[in-house]
Protein backbone atom coordinates (compact mmCIF):
# COMPACT_ATOMS: atom_id res chain seq x y z
CA UNK A 1 0.00 0.00 0.00
CA UNK A 2 1.57 3.24 -0.99
CA UNK A 3 1.19 6.43 0.93
CA UNK A 4 0.84 9.34 -1.46
CA UNK A 5 1.14 13.00 -0.62
CA UNK A 6 0.09 15.87 -2.83
CA UNK A 7 1.64 19.20 -1.94
CA UNK A 8 -1.13 21.65 -2.82
CA UNK A 9 0.45 24.97 -3.73
CA UNK A 10 -1.67 28.00 -2.83
CA UNK A 11 -2.09 31.42 -4.39
CA UNK A 12 -3.65 34.60 -3.03
CA UNK A 13 -7.01 33.54 -4.47
CA UNK A 14 -7.05 29.91 -3.34
CA UNK A 15 -5.49 26.55 -4.09
CA UNK A 16 -3.44 26.77 -7.32
CA UNK A 17 -5.53 25.34 -10.21
CA UNK A 18 -2.65 23.04 -11.17
CA UNK A 19 -2.59 21.74 -7.60
CA UNK A 20 -6.24 20.70 -8.01
CA UNK A 21 -5.25 18.76 -11.14
CA UNK A 22 -2.40 17.18 -9.17
CA UNK A 23 -4.82 16.16 -6.41
CA UNK A 24 -6.84 14.31 -9.07
CA UNK A 25 -3.60 12.65 -10.21
CA UNK A 26 -3.02 11.65 -6.59
CA UNK A 27 -6.51 10.19 -6.29
CA UNK A 28 -6.02 8.19 -9.49
CA UNK A 29 -2.61 6.96 -8.43
CA UNK A 30 -4.00 5.91 -5.04
CA UNK A 31 -6.79 4.02 -6.78
CA UNK A 32 -4.39 2.33 -9.20
CA UNK A 33 -1.84 1.37 -6.56
CA UNK A 34 -4.23 0.58 -3.73
CA UNK A 35 -2.84 3.40 -1.63
CA UNK A 36 -3.96 6.46 0.25
CA UNK A 37 -3.64 10.09 -0.69
CA UNK A 38 -3.28 13.08 1.63
CA UNK A 39 -3.03 16.74 0.72
CA UNK A 40 -0.42 18.97 2.29
CA UNK A 41 -1.06 22.71 2.44
CA UNK A 42 1.73 24.98 3.63
CA UNK A 43 1.99 28.65 4.57
CA UNK A 44 1.77 30.86 7.64
CA UNK A 45 -1.99 30.56 8.07
CA UNK A 46 -3.72 28.15 5.71
CA UNK A 47 -6.92 26.99 7.42
CA UNK A 48 -9.09 28.73 4.81
CA UNK A 49 -7.12 27.06 2.03
CA UNK A 50 -7.29 23.65 3.70
CA UNK A 51 -11.06 24.06 4.06
CA UNK A 52 -11.32 24.36 0.26
CA UNK A 53 -10.37 20.67 0.08
CA UNK A 54 -12.89 19.48 2.68
CA UNK A 55 -15.19 17.96 0.05
CA UNK A 56 -12.45 15.96 -1.69
CA UNK A 57 -12.00 12.24 -1.14
CA UNK A 58 -8.68 12.34 0.70
CA UNK A 59 -7.21 10.53 3.67
CA UNK A 60 -6.64 13.91 5.24
CA UNK A 61 -5.64 17.47 4.58
CA UNK A 62 -2.46 18.18 6.50
CA UNK A 63 -1.56 21.76 7.24
CA UNK A 64 2.04 22.81 7.72
CA UNK A 65 2.14 26.28 9.23
CA UNK A 66 5.05 28.49 10.21
CA UNK A 67 5.71 32.25 10.03
CA UNK A 68 8.73 31.59 7.77
CA UNK A 69 6.40 30.02 5.18
CA UNK A 70 4.36 33.23 4.73
CA UNK A 71 6.27 34.18 1.60
CA UNK A 72 7.81 31.54 -0.65
CA UNK A 73 11.55 30.99 -0.40
CA UNK A 74 13.26 27.73 -1.36
CA UNK A 75 15.31 27.70 1.86
CA UNK A 76 12.29 27.63 4.17
CA UNK A 77 10.14 25.45 1.90
CA UNK A 78 12.80 22.79 1.34
CA UNK A 79 13.63 22.61 5.06
CA UNK A 80 9.95 22.31 6.02
CA UNK A 81 9.15 19.72 3.37
CA UNK A 82 12.25 17.66 4.06
CA UNK A 83 11.41 17.54 7.77
CA UNK A 84 7.76 16.64 7.14
CA UNK A 85 8.70 13.93 4.65
CA UNK A 86 11.36 12.43 6.92
CA UNK A 87 8.96 12.30 9.85
CA UNK A 88 5.98 10.84 7.97
CA UNK A 89 7.66 8.74 5.28
CA UNK A 90 5.28 9.06 2.32
CA UNK A 91 6.23 6.75 -0.58
CA UNK A 92 5.32 9.23 -3.29
CA UNK A 93 5.06 13.01 -3.12
CA UNK A 94 3.35 14.79 -6.00
CA UNK A 95 3.69 18.48 -6.83
CA UNK A 96 2.06 20.57 -9.53
CA UNK A 97 4.76 21.40 -12.13
CA UNK A 98 4.61 25.17 -11.52
CA UNK A 99 7.40 27.75 -11.74
CA UNK A 100 7.46 27.77 -7.93
CA UNK A 101 7.86 24.02 -7.46
CA UNK A 102 10.45 23.72 -10.23
CA UNK A 103 12.42 26.33 -8.29
CA UNK A 104 12.64 24.21 -5.12
CA UNK A 105 11.63 20.56 -5.65
CA UNK A 106 14.97 19.60 -7.30
CA UNK A 107 16.67 21.00 -4.23
CA UNK A 108 14.36 18.97 -2.01
CA UNK A 109 15.25 15.85 -4.02
CA UNK A 110 18.93 16.63 -3.47
CA UNK A 111 18.40 17.16 0.27
CA UNK A 112 16.56 13.85 0.60
CA UNK A 113 18.64 11.93 -1.91
CA UNK A 114 15.32 11.09 -3.55
CA UNK A 115 14.39 10.37 -7.15
CA UNK A 116 12.63 13.20 -8.97
CA UNK A 117 10.38 12.67 -11.99
CA UNK A 118 9.59 16.08 -13.47
CA UNK A 119 6.69 16.94 -15.79
CA UNK A 120 4.61 13.79 -15.49
CA UNK A 121 1.77 13.61 -18.03
CA UNK A 122 0.44 10.16 -17.11
CA UNK A 123 1.33 7.02 -15.21
CA UNK A 124 0.58 3.36 -15.01
CA UNK A 125 1.05 0.84 -12.22
CA UNK A 126 2.80 -2.30 -13.48
CA UNK A 127 3.71 -5.16 -11.12
CA UNK A 128 3.39 -2.83 -8.18
CA UNK A 129 5.77 -0.23 -9.62
CA UNK A 130 4.72 3.12 -11.01
CA UNK A 131 5.76 3.80 -14.61
CA UNK A 132 5.82 7.54 -15.19
CA UNK A 133 5.37 9.12 -18.60
CA UNK A 134 7.03 12.47 -19.31
CA UNK A 135 7.96 14.53 -22.36
CA UNK A 136 11.56 14.64 -23.59
CA UNK A 137 13.24 16.53 -26.44
CA UNK A 138 10.91 19.49 -26.21
CA UNK A 139 7.81 17.29 -26.30
CA UNK A 140 8.77 15.69 -29.61
CA UNK A 141 9.07 12.37 -27.81
CA UNK A 142 7.87 10.90 -24.55
CA UNK A 143 9.68 8.62 -22.14
CA UNK A 144 8.43 5.97 -19.74
CA UNK A 145 10.60 5.94 -16.64
CA UNK A 146 10.77 4.04 -13.39
CA UNK A 147 12.11 5.62 -10.22
CA UNK A 148 14.11 3.89 -7.50
CA UNK A 149 14.02 4.32 -3.75
CA UNK A 150 11.61 6.04 -1.44
CA UNK A 151 10.25 8.62 -1.38
CA UNK A 152 9.74 9.34 -5.06
CA UNK A 153 9.07 12.98 -5.90
CA UNK A 154 7.15 13.78 -9.09
CA UNK A 155 5.69 16.94 -10.57
CA UNK A 156 2.54 16.85 -12.69
CA UNK A 157 2.35 18.87 -15.91
CA UNK A 158 -0.50 21.35 -16.52
CA UNK A 159 -3.57 19.94 -18.24
CA UNK A 160 -2.59 16.28 -17.83
CA UNK A 161 -5.43 15.72 -15.34
CA UNK A 162 -8.70 17.57 -14.99
CA UNK A 163 -9.88 19.03 -11.69
CA UNK A 164 -13.45 18.23 -12.72
CA UNK A 165 -12.63 14.50 -12.44
CA UNK A 166 -12.17 14.77 -8.70
CA UNK A 167 -13.69 12.16 -6.41
CA UNK A 168 -15.83 13.81 -3.82
CA UNK A 169 -15.90 12.82 -0.21
CA UNK A 170 -14.77 14.27 3.04
CA UNK A 171 -11.34 15.08 4.27
CA UNK A 172 -10.36 15.80 7.85
CA UNK A 173 -7.99 18.69 8.38
CA UNK A 174 -5.15 18.12 10.79
CA UNK A 175 -2.01 20.05 11.64
CA UNK A 176 1.45 18.70 11.04
CA UNK A 177 4.22 19.93 13.26
CA UNK A 178 7.88 20.02 12.42
CA UNK A 179 10.78 20.84 14.64
CA UNK A 180 13.38 22.51 12.45
CA UNK A 181 14.73 26.01 11.85
CA UNK A 182 13.24 27.51 8.71
CA UNK A 183 15.49 30.03 7.09
CA UNK A 184 14.92 32.11 3.99
CA UNK A 185 17.82 31.86 1.54
CA UNK A 186 16.79 34.89 -0.47
CA UNK A 187 15.42 38.33 0.26
CA UNK A 188 12.23 39.19 -1.59
CA UNK A 189 12.40 42.72 -2.96
CA UNK A 190 9.13 42.87 -4.88
CA UNK A 191 7.31 42.01 -8.07
CA UNK A 192 7.09 43.77 -11.42
CA UNK A 193 4.89 43.39 -14.48
CA UNK A 194 6.74 42.05 -17.49
CA UNK A 195 7.19 44.94 -19.90
CA UNK A 196 4.58 45.08 -22.62
CA UNK A 197 1.13 43.49 -22.41
CA UNK A 198 -0.20 46.24 -24.63
CA UNK A 199 -1.36 43.77 -27.22
CA UNK A 200 -4.22 41.82 -25.68
CA UNK A 201 -4.31 38.66 -27.78
CA UNK A 202 -6.91 37.11 -25.50
CA UNK A 203 -9.57 39.39 -26.99
CA UNK A 204 -8.77 38.45 -30.60
CA UNK A 205 -11.05 36.15 -32.62
CA UNK A 206 -8.23 34.93 -34.79
CA UNK A 207 -4.53 34.66 -34.03
CA UNK A 208 -1.68 33.76 -36.36
CA UNK A 209 1.30 32.59 -34.32
CA UNK A 210 4.85 32.65 -35.66
CA UNK A 211 7.46 30.14 -34.50
CA UNK A 212 11.20 29.75 -34.83
CA UNK A 213 10.60 27.80 -38.04
CA UNK A 214 9.82 31.08 -39.81
CA UNK A 215 13.57 31.47 -39.94
CA UNK A 216 14.29 35.11 -39.13
CA UNK A 217 12.94 38.58 -38.51
CA UNK A 218 13.35 39.38 -42.20
CA UNK A 219 11.15 36.41 -43.11
CA UNK A 220 8.15 37.40 -40.97
CA UNK A 221 6.47 39.02 -43.99
CA UNK A 222 4.44 35.91 -44.84
CA UNK A 223 3.12 35.76 -41.29
CA UNK A 224 1.93 39.36 -41.38
CA UNK A 225 0.42 38.80 -44.83
CA UNK A 226 -1.48 35.76 -43.59
CA UNK A 227 -2.69 37.69 -40.53
CA UNK A 228 -3.92 40.44 -42.81
CA UNK A 229 -5.73 38.00 -45.08
CA UNK A 230 -7.39 36.38 -42.05
CA UNK A 231 -7.98 39.67 -40.22
CA UNK A 232 -6.04 38.13 -37.35
CA UNK A 233 -3.67 39.39 -34.67
CA UNK A 234 -0.05 38.18 -34.67
CA UNK A 235 1.33 36.20 -31.75
CA UNK A 236 4.48 34.11 -31.36
CA UNK A 237 6.30 31.34 -29.57
CA UNK A 238 8.99 32.23 -27.09
CA UNK A 239 12.14 31.85 -29.24
CA UNK A 240 10.72 34.39 -31.70
CA UNK A 241 10.48 36.90 -28.85
CA UNK A 242 13.81 35.90 -27.29
CA UNK A 243 15.49 36.54 -30.64
CA UNK A 244 13.89 39.97 -30.83
CA UNK A 245 11.84 39.32 -33.98
CA UNK A 246 8.61 40.40 -32.25
CA UNK A 247 7.91 42.25 -28.97
CA UNK A 248 7.54 40.36 -25.67
CA UNK A 249 3.81 41.07 -25.41
CA UNK A 250 3.13 38.83 -28.44
CA UNK A 251 4.24 35.73 -26.55
CA UNK A 252 1.75 32.90 -26.20
CA UNK A 253 2.28 30.27 -23.53
CA UNK A 254 2.96 29.57 -19.89
CA UNK A 255 5.10 32.67 -19.47
CA UNK A 256 3.10 34.71 -21.96
CA UNK A 257 -0.56 35.13 -22.76
CA UNK A 258 -3.25 32.47 -22.61
CA UNK A 259 -5.58 32.68 -25.57
CA UNK A 260 -8.68 30.85 -26.76
CA UNK A 261 -9.60 32.45 -30.09
CA UNK A 262 -12.02 30.99 -32.64
CA UNK A 263 -9.03 30.31 -34.89
CA UNK A 264 -5.40 29.74 -33.94
CA UNK A 265 -3.05 29.38 -36.92
CA UNK A 266 0.45 28.25 -35.92
CA UNK A 267 3.26 28.64 -38.42
CA UNK A 268 6.64 26.96 -37.84
CA UNK A 269 5.82 26.12 -34.22
CA UNK A 270 6.75 22.68 -32.86
CA UNK A 271 4.21 22.61 -30.02
CA UNK A 272 6.23 22.44 -26.80
CA UNK A 273 4.05 22.07 -23.71
CA UNK A 274 4.86 25.61 -22.53
CA UNK A 275 3.37 26.90 -25.77
CA UNK A 276 0.44 24.48 -25.83
CA UNK A 277 -0.83 25.51 -22.39
CA UNK A 278 -1.32 29.01 -23.79
CA UNK A 279 -3.42 28.08 -26.84
CA UNK A 280 -4.91 24.60 -26.33
CA UNK A 281 -8.28 26.13 -25.56
CA UNK A 282 -8.61 27.64 -29.05
CA UNK A 283 -11.76 26.54 -30.89
CA UNK A 284 -10.07 25.56 -34.14
CA UNK A 285 -6.34 24.94 -34.35
CA UNK A 286 -4.43 24.93 -37.64
CA UNK A 287 -0.73 24.17 -37.88
CA UNK A 288 1.78 24.37 -40.71
CA UNK A 289 5.03 22.52 -40.09
CA UNK A 290 7.52 20.69 -42.26
CA UNK A 291 7.89 17.94 -39.66
CA UNK A 292 4.97 15.54 -39.69
CA UNK A 293 5.75 14.33 -36.18
CA UNK A 294 5.73 17.82 -34.64
CA UNK A 295 3.67 17.69 -31.42
CA UNK A 296 1.56 20.67 -32.51
CA UNK A 297 -0.28 18.29 -34.86
CA UNK A 298 -1.39 16.36 -31.78
CA UNK A 299 -3.63 19.22 -30.68
CA UNK A 300 -4.44 20.61 -34.13
CA UNK A 301 -7.72 20.15 -36.00
CA UNK A 302 -6.14 20.73 -39.42
CA UNK A 303 -2.54 20.64 -40.51
CA UNK A 304 -0.43 21.11 -43.58
CA UNK A 305 2.92 19.35 -43.73
CA UNK A 306 5.32 21.40 -45.80
CA UNK A 307 7.65 24.36 -46.05
CA UNK A 308 5.75 27.31 -44.63
CA UNK A 309 7.35 29.68 -47.14
CA UNK A 310 5.61 27.75 -49.90
CA UNK A 311 2.45 26.82 -48.01
CA UNK A 312 1.51 30.20 -46.51
CA UNK A 313 1.56 32.17 -49.80
CA UNK A 314 -0.62 29.39 -51.24
CA UNK A 315 -3.04 29.68 -48.31
CA UNK A 316 -3.24 33.46 -48.78
CA UNK A 317 -3.98 32.92 -52.46
CA UNK A 318 -6.65 30.32 -51.70
CA UNK A 319 -8.26 32.71 -49.23
CA UNK A 320 -8.35 35.45 -51.86
CA UNK A 321 -9.67 33.16 -54.59
CA UNK A 322 -12.59 31.93 -52.54
CA UNK A 323 -13.35 35.20 -50.82
CA UNK A 324 -16.99 36.05 -50.36
CA UNK A 325 -18.50 32.77 -51.55
Amino acid sequence: MSKIWVVAQTRADGIHPMALETLVAGQELAAASGGTVDALVMGDSVSARAAELASWELGSVQTLEAPALAAYTPGAYVAALAAAIRANAPDIVLFPHTYQTVDHVPRLAQALGAALVPEVVSFEVRDGAVIWRRPVLGGKLQADVRAKGSPILASVQAGAFSASDRRQGTAQVSALSIDVELEADREILGVEEVAGEHIDLSAADRVVAAGRGVGGEDKLGVVHDLAKALKAEVGASRPVIDSGWLPRDCQIGSSGQTISPKLYFGVGISGAIQHLVGMKGSQVIVAVNKDKSAPIFGVADYGIVGDLHEVIPAVIQALEETEGD
Binding site: P74, P106, V286, F297, D307
Partner: protein, 264 residues
Protein backbone atom coordinates in the same frame (compact mmCIF):
# COMPACT_ATOMS: atom_id res chain seq x y z
CA UNK B 1 34.60 37.64 -10.48
CA UNK B 2 35.29 34.04 -11.24
CA UNK B 3 32.24 32.50 -12.88
CA UNK B 4 31.50 28.88 -13.75
CA UNK B 5 29.06 28.12 -16.55
CA UNK B 6 27.59 24.64 -16.97
CA UNK B 7 26.62 23.82 -20.52
CA UNK B 8 25.04 20.83 -22.12
CA UNK B 9 25.12 19.78 -25.74
CA UNK B 10 21.71 18.75 -27.10
CA UNK B 11 20.28 17.77 -30.50
CA UNK B 12 19.55 20.74 -32.74
CA UNK B 13 15.80 21.53 -32.53
CA UNK B 14 15.77 21.31 -36.35
CA UNK B 15 17.09 17.75 -36.35
CA UNK B 16 14.71 14.99 -37.31
CA UNK B 17 14.71 12.36 -34.63
CA UNK B 18 14.62 8.59 -34.78
CA UNK B 19 14.14 6.19 -31.91
CA UNK B 20 17.15 3.93 -31.35
CA UNK B 21 16.75 0.18 -31.89
CA UNK B 22 16.68 -0.63 -28.18
CA UNK B 23 13.99 2.11 -27.72
CA UNK B 24 15.90 3.51 -24.75
CA UNK B 25 16.90 6.77 -26.43
CA UNK B 26 17.15 8.41 -29.82
CA UNK B 27 19.64 7.41 -32.48
CA UNK B 28 22.41 9.98 -32.06
CA UNK B 29 24.53 8.86 -34.97
CA UNK B 30 23.73 11.40 -37.66
CA UNK B 31 22.41 14.13 -35.40
CA UNK B 32 23.65 17.69 -35.29
CA UNK B 33 24.33 18.85 -31.74
CA UNK B 34 24.27 22.41 -30.46
CA UNK B 35 24.77 24.19 -27.14
CA UNK B 36 21.51 23.94 -25.19
CA UNK B 37 19.51 27.11 -25.79
CA UNK B 38 19.30 28.57 -22.27
CA UNK B 39 22.91 27.51 -21.53
CA UNK B 40 24.01 29.77 -24.40
CA UNK B 41 22.25 32.65 -22.70
CA UNK B 42 23.93 31.71 -19.40
CA UNK B 43 27.34 31.87 -21.07
CA UNK B 44 26.59 35.31 -22.53
CA UNK B 45 25.47 36.56 -19.11
CA UNK B 46 28.68 35.26 -17.54
CA UNK B 47 30.89 36.85 -20.21
CA UNK B 48 29.14 40.21 -19.75
CA UNK B 49 29.54 40.12 -15.97
CA UNK B 50 33.19 39.08 -16.22
CA UNK B 51 33.86 41.97 -18.61
CA UNK B 52 32.25 44.42 -16.20
CA UNK B 53 33.73 43.16 -12.96
CA UNK B 54 36.97 41.66 -14.21
CA UNK B 55 37.70 37.98 -13.72
CA UNK B 56 37.23 34.93 -15.83
CA UNK B 57 34.65 32.49 -17.08
CA UNK B 58 35.26 28.74 -16.91
CA UNK B 59 32.89 26.43 -18.79
CA UNK B 60 31.98 22.91 -17.68
CA UNK B 61 30.35 20.20 -19.71
CA UNK B 62 29.62 16.54 -19.05
CA UNK B 63 29.39 14.11 -21.93
CA UNK B 64 31.16 12.19 -24.63
CA UNK B 65 33.86 13.31 -27.04
CA UNK B 66 31.40 15.44 -29.02
CA UNK B 67 30.90 17.99 -26.23
CA UNK B 68 34.44 19.26 -26.79
CA UNK B 69 33.03 21.03 -29.82
CA UNK B 70 30.56 22.92 -27.60
CA UNK B 71 33.34 23.76 -25.15
CA UNK B 72 35.56 24.97 -27.99
CA UNK B 73 32.74 27.21 -29.15
CA UNK B 74 32.37 28.67 -25.65
CA UNK B 75 36.11 29.32 -25.59
CA UNK B 76 35.81 31.10 -28.94
CA UNK B 77 33.06 33.28 -27.48
CA UNK B 78 35.35 34.36 -24.65
CA UNK B 79 35.52 31.77 -21.89
CA UNK B 80 39.03 31.44 -20.47
CA UNK B 81 39.20 27.70 -19.85
CA UNK B 82 37.04 24.61 -20.03
CA UNK B 83 36.57 21.50 -17.93
CA UNK B 84 35.29 18.38 -19.64
CA UNK B 85 33.74 15.70 -17.44
CA UNK B 86 34.82 13.19 -19.99
CA UNK B 87 34.65 9.73 -18.48
CA UNK B 88 31.87 7.48 -19.86
CA UNK B 89 31.00 6.69 -16.21
CA UNK B 90 29.61 10.24 -15.92
CA UNK B 91 26.97 9.62 -18.60
CA UNK B 92 23.37 8.47 -18.32
CA UNK B 93 22.73 10.09 -14.96
CA UNK B 94 19.61 11.76 -13.62
CA UNK B 95 19.81 15.35 -12.36
CA UNK B 96 21.10 14.17 -8.98
CA UNK B 97 23.98 12.16 -10.43
CA UNK B 98 24.89 14.85 -12.96
CA UNK B 99 24.57 17.63 -10.38
CA UNK B 100 26.80 15.74 -7.93
CA UNK B 101 29.55 15.42 -10.55
CA UNK B 102 29.34 19.05 -11.70
CA UNK B 103 29.26 20.33 -8.10
CA UNK B 104 32.41 18.35 -7.32
CA UNK B 105 34.16 19.75 -10.39
CA UNK B 106 33.13 23.30 -9.46
CA UNK B 107 34.16 22.82 -5.85
CA UNK B 108 37.67 21.88 -6.93
CA UNK B 109 38.14 25.56 -7.82
CA UNK B 110 36.94 28.75 -6.14
CA UNK B 111 33.97 30.45 -7.82
CA UNK B 112 31.88 33.50 -6.94
CA UNK B 113 28.99 32.54 -9.16
CA UNK B 114 27.71 29.54 -11.12
CA UNK B 115 25.43 30.03 -14.12
CA UNK B 116 23.45 27.32 -15.87
CA UNK B 117 20.48 27.23 -18.22
CA UNK B 118 16.95 26.63 -16.92
CA UNK B 119 16.00 23.57 -18.91
CA UNK B 120 17.74 21.25 -21.34
CA UNK B 121 16.31 20.51 -24.75
CA UNK B 122 16.76 16.75 -24.33
CA UNK B 123 16.03 15.29 -20.87
CA UNK B 124 14.39 18.54 -19.79
CA UNK B 125 14.65 17.91 -16.04
CA UNK B 126 14.92 21.65 -15.20
CA UNK B 127 16.78 20.51 -12.10
CA UNK B 128 20.52 20.30 -12.54
CA UNK B 129 21.39 23.86 -11.47
CA UNK B 130 19.32 23.62 -8.29
CA UNK B 131 20.87 20.25 -7.48
CA UNK B 132 24.37 21.70 -7.94
CA UNK B 133 23.40 24.50 -5.52
CA UNK B 134 22.19 21.88 -3.05
CA UNK B 135 25.50 20.01 -3.14
CA UNK B 136 27.45 23.28 -2.80
CA UNK B 137 25.15 24.57 -0.05
CA UNK B 138 24.64 27.84 -1.92
CA UNK B 139 21.42 29.76 -2.64
CA UNK B 140 19.97 29.45 -6.12
CA UNK B 141 17.24 30.82 -8.34
CA UNK B 142 15.59 29.16 -11.34
CA UNK B 143 14.19 30.84 -14.46
CA UNK B 144 16.15 34.06 -14.19
CA UNK B 145 15.43 36.89 -16.63
CA UNK B 146 17.61 39.57 -15.01
CA UNK B 147 20.86 39.47 -13.05
CA UNK B 148 22.75 42.33 -11.48
CA UNK B 149 25.78 41.80 -9.27
CA UNK B 150 25.68 44.44 -6.54
CA UNK B 151 28.61 46.63 -5.51
CA UNK B 152 31.03 44.76 -3.33
CA UNK B 153 30.14 41.51 -5.14
CA UNK B 154 28.57 40.07 -2.01
CA UNK B 155 25.05 39.78 -3.41
CA UNK B 156 23.09 39.72 -6.67
CA UNK B 157 19.71 41.13 -7.58
CA UNK B 158 17.83 38.54 -9.58
CA UNK B 159 14.65 38.80 -11.64
CA UNK B 160 12.72 35.55 -11.57
CA UNK B 161 10.07 34.78 -14.13
CA UNK B 162 6.73 33.72 -12.67
CA UNK B 163 3.53 32.59 -14.30
CA UNK B 164 1.13 35.09 -15.88
CA UNK B 165 3.37 37.95 -16.88
CA UNK B 166 4.85 38.83 -13.50
CA UNK B 167 8.47 38.78 -12.37
CA UNK B 168 9.73 38.54 -8.82
CA UNK B 169 12.85 40.43 -7.76
CA UNK B 170 14.97 38.79 -5.10
CA UNK B 171 18.41 39.31 -3.60
CA UNK B 172 20.74 36.34 -3.19
CA UNK B 173 23.96 36.26 -1.20
CA UNK B 174 26.98 35.20 -3.30
CA UNK B 175 28.28 32.68 -4.12
CA UNK B 176 25.07 31.40 -5.70
CA UNK B 177 23.81 29.30 -8.59
CA UNK B 178 21.69 31.19 -11.12
CA UNK B 179 19.63 29.23 -13.66
CA UNK B 180 19.17 31.52 -16.64
CA UNK B 181 16.07 31.56 -18.83
CA UNK B 182 16.35 32.02 -22.61
CA UNK B 183 15.80 35.64 -23.65
CA UNK B 184 17.70 37.30 -20.78
CA UNK B 185 20.19 38.89 -23.21
CA UNK B 186 21.33 38.77 -26.85
CA UNK B 187 24.14 36.24 -27.21
CA UNK B 188 27.16 37.41 -29.19
CA UNK B 189 28.70 35.66 -32.19
CA UNK B 190 32.23 34.32 -32.18
CA UNK B 191 34.80 36.51 -33.90
CA UNK B 192 37.54 35.13 -36.12
CA UNK B 193 40.05 36.24 -33.51
CA UNK B 194 38.08 34.44 -30.82
CA UNK B 195 38.03 31.25 -32.86
CA UNK B 196 41.80 31.44 -33.38
CA UNK B 197 42.47 32.10 -29.69
CA UNK B 198 40.20 29.25 -28.64
CA UNK B 199 42.54 26.77 -30.28
CA UNK B 200 45.19 27.58 -27.68
CA UNK B 201 42.89 27.53 -24.66
CA UNK B 202 42.85 24.64 -22.24
CA UNK B 203 40.16 21.96 -22.11
CA UNK B 204 40.94 19.87 -19.02
CA UNK B 205 39.47 16.37 -19.07
CA UNK B 206 38.52 15.02 -15.64
CA UNK B 207 37.39 11.61 -14.40
CA UNK B 208 35.30 10.73 -11.33
CA UNK B 209 38.50 9.79 -9.48
CA UNK B 210 39.96 13.25 -10.20
CA UNK B 211 36.93 14.69 -8.42
CA UNK B 212 37.14 12.31 -5.49
CA UNK B 213 34.03 10.46 -6.59
CA UNK B 214 33.54 6.74 -6.95
CA UNK B 215 32.24 5.42 -10.28
CA UNK B 216 29.06 4.30 -8.48
CA UNK B 217 28.33 7.90 -7.37
CA UNK B 218 27.94 9.29 -10.88
CA UNK B 219 26.16 8.64 -14.17
CA UNK B 220 23.87 5.74 -14.90
CA UNK B 221 25.20 3.77 -11.91
CA UNK B 222 23.98 6.45 -9.48
CA UNK B 223 20.83 7.39 -11.35
CA UNK B 224 17.54 6.92 -9.52
CA UNK B 225 15.64 7.10 -12.80
CA UNK B 226 15.58 4.29 -15.30
CA UNK B 227 14.24 4.90 -18.80
CA UNK B 228 12.17 1.98 -20.05
CA UNK B 229 11.36 3.36 -23.50
CA UNK B 230 11.08 6.53 -25.55
CA UNK B 231 8.54 6.91 -28.34
CA UNK B 232 6.65 9.44 -30.43
CA UNK B 233 3.50 10.50 -28.59
CA UNK B 234 0.13 9.35 -29.85
CA UNK B 235 -1.33 12.40 -31.50
CA UNK B 236 -4.44 13.08 -29.41
CA UNK B 237 -7.63 13.36 -31.40
CA UNK B 238 -5.50 13.60 -34.51
CA UNK B 239 -5.45 16.47 -36.93
CA UNK B 240 -6.72 16.19 -40.47
CA UNK B 241 -3.43 16.47 -42.31
CA UNK B 242 -2.84 17.70 -45.85
CA UNK B 243 0.40 16.84 -47.53
CA UNK B 244 1.78 17.31 -51.03
CA UNK B 245 1.34 20.15 -53.49
CA UNK B 246 1.15 23.40 -51.45
CA UNK B 247 -1.58 24.93 -53.65
CA UNK B 248 -3.78 21.81 -53.35
CA UNK B 249 -3.24 21.62 -49.60
CA UNK B 250 -4.02 25.30 -49.20
CA UNK B 251 -7.26 25.03 -51.18
CA UNK B 252 -8.42 22.01 -49.18
CA UNK B 253 -7.59 23.72 -45.90
CA UNK B 254 -9.43 26.92 -46.79
CA UNK B 255 -12.45 24.90 -47.91
CA UNK B 256 -12.47 23.06 -44.57
CA UNK B 257 -12.11 26.27 -42.58
CA UNK B 258 -15.03 27.84 -44.45
CA UNK B 259 -17.46 24.92 -44.74
CA UNK B 260 -16.63 22.52 -41.90
CA UNK B 261 -15.05 24.57 -39.12
CA UNK B 262 -16.89 27.75 -40.17
CA UNK B 263 -14.29 30.07 -38.74
CA UNK B 264 -13.79 32.33 -41.76
Amino acid sequence: MKIAVCMKQVPDTEASLRVRKDSLWIDEEELTFVINESDGYALEEALTIAEKTGGEVVVFSLGGERVREALRKALALGAARAVHLADPAFEGGDALATGRALAAAIQAQQFDLVLTGSQSGDAGFSSTGSVIAGFLGWPHAWLVMGLEVEDGKKAAKVTREMESGVNEIVRLALPAVIEVQAGINSPRYASLKGIMQAKRKEIAAVTPADLGLGAEEVGAAASLLETLAVFFPESGKGAEIFEGDPADCARQLVEKLRKEARVL
